[in-house]
Symmetry: C3
């Protein structure tokens, strides 16, 4: 791994350490504090969407504020305390204060008997209730007594904060990168996503010449994506040529790719190509295994070509959606590797142009200094890649298709393309004309 | 098996017992008597086609009547007697009376050396000759003596009887079910076919709401199908969306499906789907293995999408086209199972509509009571089938395609469809618009 | 193998013996002498293309004449002598005369350390230099002394000789057969190609009725094909339906086929069909493995459907492009077998018409004497091929597709086609209408 990538991994990890304690949710101060830190990395544009705003089949919920929340036993000791871990409180819990017997308390408690030492992550965004999450081992030890419960929250008019950042390229054609910022203290899912996205945006801003316009989106999962789609649908449908939901990119597991709804789009092909060459044992998932905002981006009628490049997929590791998905579960090296893999995908997308050979019949490459002038039994092999590249540059096969045909990574063809362009033997066919 | 299906199996078997002794052929009293019994099950419409009628490349043959036919030895004993088994007489034998030596008799005898105890089934519809069929063991024991032969038949102007029954649905689109009624005393091939077809017709008449119009056809094999096609070709080509030749459905062997000429049509896909889910070890045959009226229905220029769902395919069991294909070869249980499998195919065809989700982005299913309001690690799984169904209801994938994608039988998606229609989340796309 | 094929093999071998000693190159007397002999086999039309003529990206080089060329040691003995083997001189060597030390001589010497006993084949058509080729074992024994070198050659205005022969068929649609005549004394690559092409042309001239027009082309590799293409491109693109580069057809190895650029064309399908039925263990190569004039014929923008049917492919045998590719490497039997295989391909192309059955529904084959009039359990099998042929003759499947469907070689269907045409049951669909 390159040195600057390694140090980027450390930097991302430090950013995650700062973000980790914040209590994010669909709305509220935790999201805004998160954006404040992310905006130190990249100049994200924020927008406040008022509670009650309608978007497709959804309505933006009230804003949720937590001041305090705990369960105290009859000795007055706080045995479950939001201040100790924000996962203890069910997301969007309504206010409550009272004393309850254990039997009365139980329906408000959530735990995972199969993982007795972790706090599960539970929310109730669209139905009013309150509840606490705790390790099942602790729950089993609760005795018959009177418990005092306080849920000092507020659910009222406010707004949902969403952010985006559009980095213009030479073309209006867009790559969409979406990630979510609504999960409280968990590291891989989700903090790794928004931090990696901001870091990638930072890098792309510094790169002067790129073809694609890159649109980064940070939104609360589902309602945020729905709102964003509802406000930009026509533009997104017109311009987005490929996209990714970034999530679960901080653990050291092997890479995974979740395909678009029908598969076979540019992002599916490019990502498979990159992973085949750089991450031999990656896992490929169908859209049937989806779980994040690709649900909406790929929805029929929306139909954006958005996949998801992850390391270990959500739902596939036991720490998922529990307090065990903490900072010890992610590593700087894994973050750096994910950063590198995403950049490779972007570079492959950028490289994937469509060319046409300008001669009829094989050109006389010797005239251009591209072929040995002495013809021996092996002389043809030296220039074979150049000639193959020319021979399949028929205006129909894009560079990705040619690379796949030749069994080489697309980036290894780049210098050949440059040589042939410089020699005047290859011309670029209008971008996009080779994509349907 | 459901109780009423079991009793239907018994009923079909009893119907076959009554039909078995009749001497059916392309024409004649045996066919008419057969129709009389079948019409007790379903109100088949009959039509008499005069001898000499031309149809495509064929001509309806004269009507054939058998009064008596036997071979007597020189002691006067009837050693081969049509009255004992109608397979003894070659179908469409011309009249003859005379005495012959064994050597003169031999060219008129037909037997199966490899199955020495059965009478083979032989016909000569379009070339005039006479002949007798007998077990090879008996033939080998014939001694040199004078044999008296009497074939008291009549071949003269008359008509061929064909029958059909059209059960209207809400649409003009048709399912064609064809079976044949020209074989003398054999049970699986063919009595099982016409009896099952009549029983299915009886059932469909009693079902009030079905989309498809069901057209049942009972005809002598080949010439009957040719005549029927020649009279209804334009209408059939316009309306038939799927079809079956029903034959060999009474034996207890595993199911078989013979595909349409080019394969890949609706009936091929639906039947494979049903068999995959209900009859794991079924056999699939190419149209190259054809042998019944799918020969004509799928003929180029006719091109009706007609397959054949059978149990053991004709030609694949040794009893085929011999006296051993008798009532002991078929069982009420097998008939009931075939009945059930055909109904499943019809139900799958009926269910195979094409829908479109009415929301952009995933709908908020909780609002419709279709999704848990508490979001835990498993909550998404509960409604996964509903959401997948919506997500692939894009107006292009029909329900069959979605069921295959989800790896579920189409009938298991029906209640989900109902829920989503009721919630107003799904709309039906015009039937047929998704079929080519 | 048939007797006349065997004797043709002997004849071809004798022709090769006469041609072998000639010093062919891109231009010059050796090529003209070669044509003189080939014209004894078939009436090839010759054309002289002046040096300096431009064609696509290429220019016809000056004409090259060799009068003498040798290296003599200080005792005056010729140790490397063009007169002993024309491979000793690098093709297109410029004139030179002088004395050199061993160190000065070495850069002008070419040998193969891994095959120390053979003379390699080396050329320098488009960059001026001189050089000698010799066995590496001899080269290693050269001692420090003064060597006298004489390269008495001439490079000056002249012309390049190319030849073609068009054998008209009833149609303007063409089969293109191209081979090259620029290699000095080597047998398999290349003498086997031009001799087999001439012999095939001789045979086709004697066949009166063929559908396709056969265009045979004998040209120096690359520059000759480029010139030929540049002069006939529009006509070739309009008419050529299939084509072959003939090379490496004299060794006794198994057959090989090198596919067209994108594969899947008529010539790819026909050749695979022929080889599957006649040469079980043939090898199939992608166009990525190309090496001869299919490089230009299949070039994008040219896009002629030209493959190459060989025995052991160039580059795949150690004798390739060395003095070991001599007359002992090829055999009359192998030449005869290649002749036979090419004729089979032509016959398959000729046979591959598209038919349509003239009846609706299966015809009554008994009426035409094509079906047994007695219907027994096996009677259908006898005529099965006839009926299958009719049933897939739908105006869309050509005979090749039907043969592949039935798993039979196309030539085994020919007599059935004749019977059905004679009976008036089949009609030919306009040629070409079934090809894209």
């Amino acid at each position: 791994m390159e040195a600057d990538h390694a140090s980027l991994g450390e930097q991302m990890y430090r950013d995650m350490e700062r973000l980790y304690p914040l209590c994010r949710s669909l709305t509220g101060a935790g999201v805004r504090d998160t954006f404040a830190i992310l905006r130190e990395i990249a100049p994200i544009q924020l927008q406040e969407i008022p509670s009650g705003t309608k978007a497709f089949d959804w309505v933006v919920p009230p804003e949720w504020t937590v001041r305090d929340a705990y369960i105290a036993d009859d000795s007055g000791e706080c045995i479950v305390d939001f201040k100790k871990h924000n996962l203890h409180l069910v997301g969007y819990s309504e206010p409550f204060e009272g004393t309850l017997s254990l039997a009365e308390l139980q329906p408000h408690l959530h735990s995972l008997p199969e993982q007795p030492d972790v706090i599960p992550y539970v929310t109730s965004y669209y139905a009013r209730r309150w509840g606490f999450c705790l390790p099942d081992r602790q729950r089993q030890q609760l005795t018959e007594q009177t418990y005092r419960v306080k849920v000092d929250t507020k659910l009222g008019p406010g707004s949902m904060t969403i952010g985006d950042l559009v980095i213009p390229g030479t073309s209006q054609e867009e790559i969409l990168i979406s990630t979510y910022i609504c999960h409280p203290s968990m590291a891989n899912n989700e903090l790794s996503g928004p931090v990696l996205a901001a870091t990638l945006a930072h890098e792309l801003i510094s790169r002067p010449h790129h073809y694609y316009t890159y649109r980064f989106v940070w939104v609360p999962e589902t309602i945020g994506a729905i709102v964003y789609l509802s406000r930009h649908l026509d533009k997104l449908k017109a311009h987005v040529k490929a996209g990714y939901v970034i999530t679960c990119v901080g653990d050291p597991g092997p890479f995974s790719y979740l395909q678009t709804r029908l598969g076979g789009t540019l992002v599916d092909k490019i990502t498979a190509h990159v992973l085949q060459h750089l991450a031999g044992d990656y896992r490929s998932y169908s859209w049937l295994d989806r779980g994040s905002d690709e649900r909406h981006y790929c929805w029929p009628g929306v139909d954006l070509p958005v996949g998801s490049l992850m390391r270990t997929k959500y739902g596939e590791y036991p720490e998922y959606h529990t307090s065990a998905d903490d900072l010890s579960f992610v590593t700087p090296e894994a973050l750096a590797g994910s950063y590198q893999m995403y950049l490779r995908c972007f570079e492959a997308l950028e490289a994937n142009r469509c060319y046409r050979c300008k001669t009829l019949g094989e050109p006389q490459l010797g005239r251009y200094g591209l072929y040995p002038t002495l013809s021996t039994r092996e002389s043809g092999l030296a220039a074979r890649q150049l000639v193959d590249l020319l021979a399949y540059s028929d205006g129909h096969h894009d560079l990705l298709a040619i690379a796949d045909k030749l069994g080489k990574p697309i980036w290894e063809l780049q210098s050949s393309v440059q040589k042939l362009m410089k020699a005047g033997l290859l011309e670029e066919v209008r971008r996009g004309s080779h994509r349907s």
